[in-house]
Symmetry: C2
Subunit: 260 residues, 2 copies
């Protein structure tokens, strides 16, 4: 397929590389920032542009991978070319593009992408939605060329997925930071926690989290929890986090058959 | 070394296997439950016992891997043999054993162990403490035979590590559960989140968490956070978690140079 990428951030970069590896032709890369456009375009052998007036209409698909609140404005400008326009946002409804065209879709990769960190794109869940069955099928087929993990997900469910991703990714990463801050304060290295963090995530690749919960809260080990709260006496924020999450783990234990 | 294992839970099981693989002799395995003792003893070619009266004194080291509140009672009974006694607990002071003997130490593996899930023990951080320099050195040397990640950690610092492990392991696992519960409620599969969870943990193996934080809170994306809180209207607990952790991510962003 001939694909035009709108955006040059982490999602655009990783998607662009995946499409190029699957032998699609990336026609152009647009970014407001000419340097960003040039850098990504160089890597994926596309033409860089930094004005939407320079769009080459010889393309099959516009992929709009920009900040959520910029999607509508871009879709409005691209609609005149009468090509398929998709966005890549978990939190944004398909309707935002359908305001301007009936040829609309969503191509949402459920993964956290960073600069300078490669991801095995074949394992990335791609959540697909189209304005009609033909578009959905076309996007599903395109998705299968780059990933083995493709689902049809409507806008309502996609919002839930996006919310769940905050719990499964953004919040755990903050807790890694909090753990590291405690260590640093006592002259200990974050490195000591890395194997534990890796193993915690590895365990739920095969099991459900409620089957592998460990720690003082799931054992209802009041003494340890009290000792921990005392250690957090000078950290009001972390004390609050500790109390809340421990209470919820105890509650989970009472509502499921989670082990110790 | 000739090692006697007191306990047959996850820590005892994984330690026992690691010692056996490193060609140490496991003399006996004690568990109150004869079947548990027999099972572990069979795997690591030791003699199972279910009474401390059956202790074979031809051993160099007692490793007490039992529940925290059972350590003192066991140490008291073992002290008569005048051998080195160590416990494996993050939350328990060395002094608990020193009440009964001057030959005391700690051998704390900073990892989460589960039944039926193998761990590469060579990467497990082992935190070592001894009552005197000779004991500490002996335990450090023993630790190096099974792991490449050995540190000297005193009782105060070990308590901090144990607390940090709750933040880095137990709480993230609960958040995986919470994310999965949201998905299940909407007919979506937990499997969709597994690559994201794996990548989130993989990122901090190379970077510090504050360098790779993503999500609406770090971007100060008020619209998305409000939409998420609205989706959580029927989930008072998760709404509280979402608000608290989002606020703390915003605070972290203001106090570090964390990126977006």
């Amino acid at each position: 397929m001939r694909i035009t990428l709108i955006g040059s951030g982490n999602v655009a970069t990783h998607l662009g590389a995946a499409f190029k590896n699957a032998w699609h032709q990336i026609v152009q890369v647009y970014s407001r920032d000419a340097q960003h456009a040039a850098l990504l375009a160089y890597h994926i052998k596309a033409e860089p542009i930094n004005s939407l007036n320079d769009i080459n209409i010889e393309t099959d698909l516009f992929i709009v991978a920009v900040k959520d609140d910029a999607i509508a404005g871009i879709a409005e400008q691209l609609a005149r070319y009468d090509k398929l326009i998709v966005h890549t946002s978990g939190a944004t409804s398909l309707a935002v593009i359908e305001l301007f065209t009936t040829k609309a879709g969503v191509f949402y990769p459920l993964q956290t992408f960073s600069t300078n960190k490669e991801v095995n794109f074949r394992t990335v869940p791609l959540c697909i939605e189209g304005s009609n069955e033909a578009i959905t099928k076309l996007l599903l087929n395109l998705a299968w060329t780059v990933s083995e993990n493709v689902s049809r997900v409507d806008s309502e469910k996609r919002k839930i997925l996006h919310l769940a991703a905050v719990f499964a990714c953004n919040f755990p990463n903050y807790l890694y930071y909090a753990a590291g801050a405690l260590l640093t304060e006592h002259g200990l290295e974050f490195n000591l926690l890395r194997p534990l963090i890796a193993e915690t995530a590895a365990k739920v690749q095969e099991h459900l989290p409620q089957q592998v919960q460990t720690g003082p809260a799931i054992r209802n080990d009041i003494n340890t929890m009290q000792a921990h709260l005392q250690l957090l006496e000078q950290h009001a924020d972390l004390k609050q986090v500790y109390s809340l999450l421990s209470q919820l783990i105890i509650k989970m234990n009472n509502s499921t058959d989670a082990g110790a």
